[in-house]
């Protein structure tokens, strides 16, 4: 049932990548608890435009939890207080009347701020470009059923492949490590015979690129798994470590 709440928002504002940012405080009256968090941000922006002020810039797109575009560090948690959801799937019924909500961008050396709440995540693309694929070109491939794959392997590969590349794992990690992201891709492909051929090369190339781009080391705190909106497991990190080690031993 519809209910309205009032909120105080403390929002990180930063005019561009070089500027020194800071928090601004805004009041919002009558926000429907049926609204999504990003619809609440829309209401704030409509209010700011009305006052002739620049609206808050934030990344978002599909608004159904699959594109990985939305981010936001809400009250100290990536994607906010609900579990297994992205920010766009978070709803205002998770907040109380007159609550103060602090909204920040992802903060990590690997993700520099572009403006306000928007960060640059092209480092993830660079890591994929370093080896996150099977080296097959279009055409000339065998029939899809030529290679039977055990259902359990296919299902496990699917679970690893469900990563949406949002970066919550990096944002929540005290070391700013991208290990969950990298391990999800290495696992997805290593679990399938198509990806086995290049598994060792891939693990080395992707880890090498991750280190080069300034992401931190993994100390197994497990925070990434807790915040992952898609439930990607840290078992993948163990698998990545095995793949990486065996690749190094072969050198």
């Amino acid at each position: 049932m519809e209910n309205n709440i009032s909120l105080t928002l403390k929002v990180w504002r930063q005019s561009d990548s070089k500027a020194k940012g800071g928090f601004e405080t805004y009041k919002l009256e009558t926000v429907s608890t049926d609204s999504s968090f990003l619809e609440m941000m829309d209401i704030l922006n409509e209010q700011l435009v009305g006052e002739g002020k620049e609206p808050v810039a934030f990344d978002h797109d599909c608004r159904e939890g699959i594109c990985g575009m939305c981010s936001l560090y809400i009250n100290g948690r990536p994607h906010g207080p609900d579990d297994d959801v992205t920010t766009c799937q978070l709803h205002m019924r998770k907040f109380k009347n007159n609550e103060t909500i602090t909204i920040e961008p992802w903060r990590s050396a690997g993700f520099p701020v572009i403006k306000d709440l928007i960060v640059d995540r092209t480092a993830f693309d660079q890591i994929i470009a370093a080896g996150g694929y099977t080296s097959v070109s279009t055409g000339g491939v065998p029939d899809a059923n030529a290679l039977p794959i055990p259902k359990d392997d296919a299902d496990e590969a699917m679970d690893a492949a469900s990563c949406i590349g949002c970066g919550a794992c990096v944002a929540t990690c005290k070391n700013g490590s991208a290990m969950l992201f990298v391990s999800a891709k290495v696992s997805h492909l290593a679990l399938l015979p198509q990806g086995q051929v290049e598994a060792a090369l891939r693990a080395k190339a992707m880890v090498g690129k991750m280190d080069e781009l300034g992401f931190g080391a993994c100390t197994n705190t497990g925070a990434c798994e807790v915040e992952c909106p898609k439930g990607v497991s840290i078992a993948n990190i163990a698998r990545l470590n095995r793949e990486y080690l065996s690749a190094k031993l072969k050198d």
Binding site: E46, T134, T138, A154, M158
Partner: protein, 645 residues
């Protein structure tokens, strides 16, 4: 304007082979000297750009997102069709072709659809080789499910995330080419205009969405694959950034826009809840396999439910009207999307709708849960039920879901010939952005198939046929007068937007446009309403260009400015949709004209007058576009009235 569909000679099943046997090719040494621009990184754009890179062309790829992996293809849930016939249930290329033409209500071009069906199997092979984790059976073989409009199981799927997995496959192939240096990736970059030199598309003008700076880019050919224009309606299942601007810019530069009025309204979406709603969420069509759709039989019950005095579960079986089962006993809850949507609207308009607004119907799993058990239903649809619960805060295992139709996909788009070339030489269009394969209504699981067919298996052939004549054309520097003038015009448009300094926010104007579209150019259309819509859209256009308010500056990132420039093009699109809907005096697929229906309220085509693709030519600012017709000839398919009773 001349529309030449360039359909190859020969019997239908041999046309594509004949084309490939006779087309021109470009040798490897020359490919290195030829540049292709690809706009968009969805299934069609990413697969095309990756394939061009692998072939040895120099590619520049543009996306408005922060990464090519964000394109809205990623949100497709259900699956992708192919004529593999793995379940041995009688499927074939011909059957897939026939179902697609029939599903499109006989308004698509036979030769293109046949080619689509014939390359569908290659797509599955390609994706598996890339490591796409399709669902498998215990024997290790690929699993299939069934979808609306077909009597076979031909849909391949990866959980409820098929679009995501296919897009990630194409994205990874694309990033491999970025690594190899054949593809230059431009993220957070919007194409704001095309450059035409001597009548041919030779490049684009872009705006960097972070810095606000404009750039000129040359290409021997340009491929636009920027998706559909469903967001004209403001509320749709499209992503917030999905827009039709690259299509409208192509139209304004001479590319015909075909069948703009063909928009698909998906029957199973979560209903609108309030004024600040930003988008509508789709619930997969697969739910209709086990869910039964109903509204109360009595108006008093519907009123009591809307007032919160009764609940759905208070109504006994004989107080419920399973209207799809009643009207369409043969297909029941699995009628095609257009039919199911109209039936929901009919009940709600008649006062039987539920929810607080009265614009909702029930999708009930009670019977299935009783028959199969809650665990089976959870295994089949668990992720969708969870998604519903997160949004609506209701438990769909206990209470029926509430759904209502919403704009989902646009079958219309930029007109292309058999080679996917537009009426501007050198400008190609792929995926949802073109008009080619779905006629007036798209079947479920066919959009992913078409996007990847165009990008992996059609354009790599046809673009060579075009570029073979260009091997002596040197690269342009971007300093040619055509580039300079196009950039100047694009800059002027953005400066003009900034200079208006009115009082209306972009969103408030977009919502106003969306309401007009939904009320008059939505699920049911009529002559009077469409004429009114054209006037109302003209008024919104005037209001927009005199009273829009955009804070900030055009230097640096300005999200409101981006939205404003896209809204300007949505207004053009809305006008075009209304004009096309007014012209098409028949009902077909997703286009329903109230004047043209059978006594039972079903869509009634006028084949003698409208068996053509309506192609609109831009004639200038504030001038009415000119209609050209591509007559559709059916040589193999027998045109008939669709019947789902």
């Amino acid at each position: 304007m001349k529309l030449d569909s360039r359909i190859p000679e020969g019997p239908l099943a041999e046309k594509w082979n004949n084309y490939k046997a006779n087309q021109k090719l470009v040798n490897p040494a020359n490919k290195r000297n030829l540049d292709i621009i690809v706009i968009g990184t969805g299934l069609a754009g990413a697969s095309a750009a990756a394939s061009f890179g692998e072939m040895g062309f120099k590619v520049k790829n543009f996306t408005i997102q922060d990464s090519p992996r964000r394109a809205h293809s990623i949100a497709a849930q259900g699956g992708i069709n192919a004529a593999k016939n793995y379940p041995n249930d009688g499927d074939s290329v011909h059957r897939l072709f026939y179902d697609t033409v029939k599903g499109g209500d006989y308004r698509a071009r036979e030769a293109n659809v046949y080619r689509l069906a014939s390359v569908s199997n290659d797509i599955i092979d390609q994706c598996v080789a890339q490591g796409v984790p399709f669902a498998r059976e215990y024997g290790g073989m690929l699993d299939n499910r069934s979808f609306g409009g077909a009597q076979v199981s031909r849909t391949f799927y990866a959980k409820g995330q098929t679009g995501q997995q296919l897009l990630i496959g194409a994205y990874q192939a694309l990033m491999r080419q970025v690594n190899a240096g054949t593809v230059e990736m431009h993220t957070r970059t919007e194409v704001v205009d095309y450059v035409i030199v001597d009548g041919k598309a030779r490049g684009v003008i872009t705006r960097d969405l972070v810095t606000g700076e404009f750039s000129r880019h040359f290409g021997h050919a340009v491929v636009m694959a920027t998706g559909g224009y469903g967001n004209t309606f403001f509320l749709s299942t499209n992503a917030m950034g999905s827009n039709g601007s690259a299509a409208i810019k192509a139209y304004e530069k001479g590319a015909a826009f075909a069948n703009p009025c063909y928009a698909q309204i998906h029957p199973t979406c979560i209903p609108v809840h309030g004024e600040f709603q930003s988008k509508l969420t789709l619930m997969s069509e697969s739910l209709r396999n086990d869910g039964r759709i109903w509204v109360p039989k009595k108006k008093e019950d519907a009123e009591a439910i809307r007032a919160g005095k009764k609940k759905a579960t208070d109504l006994s079986e004989d107080e419920r009207d399973y209207y799809l089962e009643r009207r369409y006993p043969a297909f029941g809850n699995l009628v095609p999307r257009d039919v199911a949507s109209r039936a929901a609207k009919e009940r709600c308009d008649a006062g039987f709708g539920v929810g607080t607004t009265g614009l909702a119907v029930y999708l009930d799993f009670k019977t299935s849960i009783e028959r199969l058990g809650e665990d089976t239903i959870r295994a089949r649809y668990g992720n969708l039920f969870q998604m519903y619960e997160k949004i609506v805060d209701d438990n769909p295992y206990a209470e029926p879901m509430m759904i209502y139709p919403a704009i989902h996909y646009t079958m219309g788009g930029i007109w292309v010939d058999y080679e996917l070339q537009t009426t501007v030489p050198g400008l190609f269009s792929a995926g949802e952005a073109n008009f080619s394969d779905h006629g007036a209504n798209r079947l479920g699981a066919s959009a992913l198939m078409q996007g990847l067919a165009d990008g992996y298996f059609v354009l790599p052939f046809t673009i060579q046929n075009y570029l073979a004549d260009d091997i002596r054309t040197p690269r342009m520097t971007g300093d040619e007068k055509e580039f300079v003038e196009a950039e100047k015009a694009a800059k002027a448009k953005f400066e003009k937007l900034m200079s208006i300094k009115g009082s209306r926010s972009v969103d408030s104007l977009h919502k106003e446009l969306g309401l007009v579209m939904w009320d008059f150019v939505g699920m049911a259309r009529n002559k009077k309403g469409l004429e009114e819509a054209i006037e109302k859209i003209a008024a919104i256009k005037k209001e927009f260009w005199t009273n829009v308010k955009i804070p900030g500056s055009d230097k640096g990132m300005n999200v409101e400015l981006e939205k404003a420039s896209r809204l300007a093009d949505f207004i053009t699109t809305g006008d075009l949709m209304a004009r096309d809907a007014l012209n098409r005096e028949e009902s077909c697929g997703g286009h329903f004209r109230e004047e043209y229906q059978t006594e039972e309220g079903e869509a009634k085509r006028q084949d003698d007058k409208f068996t053509y693709a309506a192609c609109w030519e831009y004639k200038g600012e504030d001038k009415a576009p000119e209609l050209h017709k591509e007559e559709l000839k059916f040589e193999v398919v027998k045109v008939a009235q669709r019947n789902y009773k």
